[in-house]
Symmetry: C2
Subunit: 120 residues, 2 copies
């Protein structure tokens, strides 16, 4: 990484919800920002944990047995294999960290929501 990353400036480049952009790497992990609005899709990542930090707004990470409600400055790590479905009633801005190669829709797939890995 040559220079710092301003997360708000990177988020301003994004259009659409649940279409993350990669802002940097930590070893073999991708650091991503995303906007969330509405409901994503139920999925899991059998091989890797999934890191969510809310920067702005509110995000609910629905798990099968409970909801995790996150506000700014709150984080949650979804354990590998745990089914989850993020939801935001109003637009939320988040930092996501996942192992490189992790597909955003995990085992759910689907052309509509599966986003390619891309640097922004």
């Amino acid at each position: 990484m040559d220079d710092k990353v301003n997360l708000a400036a990177k988020l301003a480049l994004l259009e659409g919800a649940f279409k993350p952009g990669i802002v940097g790497y930590l070893n073999d992990y991708k650091l991503q920002v995303a906007k969330a609005k509405g409901e994503f899709v139920w999925h899991s990542h059998p091989e890797t944990d999934d890191f969510f930090l809310v920067l702005e707004g509110r995000l609910t990470i629905q798990l099968r047995d409970r909801d995790i409600d996150l506000g700014p400055g709150e984080l949650f790590v979804v354990p590998a294999g745990a089914e989850h479905c993020p939801r935001a009633d109003e637009e939320a801005h988040i930092l996501l960290i996942e192992a490189r190669g992790t597909v955003n829709t995990g085992d759910a797939g689907g052309e509509d929501l599966t986003a390619p890995e891309r640097d922004i």
Copy 2:
């Protein structure tokens, strides 16, 4: 991770500068919060990148060839092997992510500044 982590609440538990506390794990990475004030020590981590996100205040990551000045919502990843020395003129609050087992003082060591890994 059973419940969410409120970073400000975790930071309120910390005393002293450059004494990180672990708030969670992402696979084999530790998620830590720390307060920074004053100058740390020049060191490097030959085996792993080092993630810094400023939550509050300002942090300068001194590199041998330049300074990276970070404010809230700004992150920087120090590449593996790069010598660096964090500095904060006023108290800053940061999120640090490093591979589990990474020693905070890297190759510099020293009893004064080397902090044990501890969950908070």
